[in-house]
């Protein structure tokens, strides 16, 4: 259980994190999402005890990170940004050192190191100096180092940077697997990663939490809305009206463009039912179809576009900059 209350961290005059509060329970995979420099890494550094907060508290299983640093460090596995490691050692030597530093009993060390090297596919490079390894291997070694002592909490700072697409998929499935029994906090600026791996998302912008929840929840509570992309032909007016009402539903035409093939592309949004409940996309789609038919247009394409985390992210982070 991780509890963060009104956390603020100031580096000189720069406030890297401002009044951040959140909670993470066991078995959750939380994604810290934000542009570079948003404060994700700082939050992680505080949780791992590398930095102390300027104000506010961070507790792990009820223990404050400032007052019980050693107990907390035992519970946490941490992969820092860029997965630093000792270039002159080999993965095997490096993991042996970590195992000893983490006080894994001597008789269990070798087995555990082998297990973790299998999990992170490191066996084939275990005797090569780390400085000669590719970024992908170093990143996986960093992850191996973090999970070696089987911690209850995993904190991963951009775990998939520098990996190729196959490795990214492998690491994501490994994180999902680990997330079943552990609390995982990972930071990323890759949106698909959050959607692929995390059960909860915290969007951080300029040191503050801009949004929090499952990606669907964030989509709903924020101004994000589903839209429909339509391609129309036939007897069309030069320009369609900005909005229209059909079957008691009001639609807004957000975009309309004439395509090279002569069709008219329109992006239509529909907000909510008069009851205030979220609209059933199928019903709304049917209404739109009926509208097209009623107008005598020809429908070439119709696509339902769900609100994506990407849209919300762009929206949120842009808003912050305007302020």
């Amino acid at each position: 259980m991780i509890e963060v209350q009104h956390l603020t961290k100031q580096y000189g005059n720069v406030k890297a994190v401002r009044d951040v509060s959140f909670q993470v329970g066991t078995g959750q995979v939380i994604g810290l999402l934000g542009p570079n420099g948003a404060g994700k890494t700082t939050i992680m550094k505080i949780l791992t005890g590398y930095h102390f907060p300027s104000s506010g508290t961070a507790n792990i299983d009820g223990l404050s990170v400032e007052d019980y640093p050693e107990e907390i460090k035992k519970k946490i596995g941490y992969l820092p940004e860029n997965a630093p490691s000792y270039g002159d050692l080999t993965p095997l030597e490096y993991l042996s050192f970590v195992a000893e530093a983490r006080q894994i009993p001597k008789e269990k060390r070798q087995n555990r190191i082998n297990e973790v090297m299998d999990q992170c596919s490191l066996q084939e490079v275990k005797n090569k100096p780390i400085e000669t390894l590719s970024k992908g291997y170093r990143q996986r070694l960093g992850l191996a180092q973090a999970i070696l002592h089987d911690p209850a909490i995993l904190i991963l700072d951009e775990p998939t940077t520098g990996l190729d697409p196959n490795q990214i998929l492998e690491i994501r499935s490994l994180i999902r697997e680990l997330g079943k029994s552990k609390t995982v906090i990972l930071s990323t600026h890759i949106l698909q990663e959050v959607e692929a791996v995390c059960s909860q998302v915290i969007i951080i912008h300029q040191g503050r939490i801009a949004a929090q929840g499952t990606s669907a929840e964030i989509g709903r509570t924020l101004k994000g809305q589903d839209s429909w992309h339509l391609e129309l032909r036939g007897n069309l007016p030069e320009v369609l009206p900005q909005s229209f009402v059909f079957n008691h539903r009001t639609f807004i035409v957000q975009e309309q463009t004439r395509l090279d093939n002569g069709s008219l592309f329109i992006k239509v949004a529909y907000i909510d039912e008069p009851t205030g409940l979220p609209a059933d996309p199928n019903a709304v789609g049917e209404t739109l179809f009926d509208w097209v038919v009623a107008q005598g247009y020809k429908l070439c394409r119709m696509e339902h576009q769900k609100v994506s985390l990407e849209d919300i992210f762009v929206q949120l982070t842009k808003e912050g900059e305007d302020k």
Binding site: Y11, K73, E100, A101, Q103, Q145
Partner: protein, 244 residues
């Protein structure tokens, strides 16, 4: 201050392993042996002294330490900070003392090996005259104690510096100052109180009694306290960085 924990030993082992796999360490040892021997046999002309003493050999120790010690310690913290591995060490369940003592222990072993290697000189000279074994033991004890204090200072500089070079240069300048502070008192006619203070602060001054074959408990205590003090400050530097 805690005793040597298993974690201190783990870190010291890793540091030592890296040091012994690095050509730089062998370069440092070679430099140390060559510098001492060249001064002893050529500059101070040991064989024409016609005296069975290693005092000239040990008299250059404070000077050569000003280069040797920073060369041993420069990497320890500065490199960890540069490569980001400091973040790993500081987020593993080490206490600040575990870390500082681990680094200190491995540096001390590197220095001790350097001193053991110099045994070749007395061992090859023993058949040539009646050397006083007691004096030589005292000289080695002194060299080790002086080295401990200087290593603690060098490590502190490495923890303050952003990179190895500034750790080395800072270490050289400060060690040169504290080693040779007592030279000021012989060069200048200073009031006795000031001269006494300068002498007291000079590491080389406290080494003199060992070089003469006297195991003075006050000087031993001085070196141990200085070592402890700088190691303590080092732990505070690590802690302070969390607040910065």
């Amino acid at each position: 201050m805690k005793g040597l924990s298993s974690q201190t030993v783990a870190l010291a082992k890793k540091e030592l392993y890296s040091a012994l796999n690095s050509p730089a360490t062998y370069g440092v040892w070679t430099f140390f042996l060559l510098f001492n021997s060249i001064t002893f046999f050529y500059l101070q002309k040991f064989f024409s002294l016609d005296s069975a003493t290693l005092r000239p050999y040990f008299s250059v120790i404070p000077l050569v330490y000003t280069l040797l010690i920073p060369a041993i310690t420069m990497k320890s913290w500065a490199e960890e900070r540069k490569t980001g591995t400091a973040e790993l060490l500081l987020t593993m369940p080490f206490s600040e003392w575990d870390l500082v003592l681990g680094k200190f222990l491995s540096s001390l072993i590197i220095l001790a090996i350097a001193l053991v290697l110099t045994l070749a000189v007395p061992l090859s000279l023993f058949p040539l005259g009646n050397f006083d074994m007691g004096v030589i033991v005292s000289e080695y004890v002194g060299a080790l104690l002086l080295g401990m204090a200087a290593l603690a200072l060098g490590l502190l500089f490495s923890s303050l510096a952003k990179n190895q070079i500034s750790a080395f240069l800072g270490g050289v300048v400060v060690l040169l100052t504290v080693m040779l502070l007592n030279q000021l008192t012989s060069l200048m006619d200073l009031p006795k109180a000031i001269a006494d203070i300068l002498n007291y602060l000079s590491l080389a001054f406290h080494f003199e009694s060992f070089a003469q074959g006297i195991l003075d408990s006050r000087d031993m205590l001085f070196f141990i306290l200085v070592t402890f003090l700088f190691l303590f400050i080092n732990t505070r530097v690590l802690l302070f960085r969390k607040w910065r």
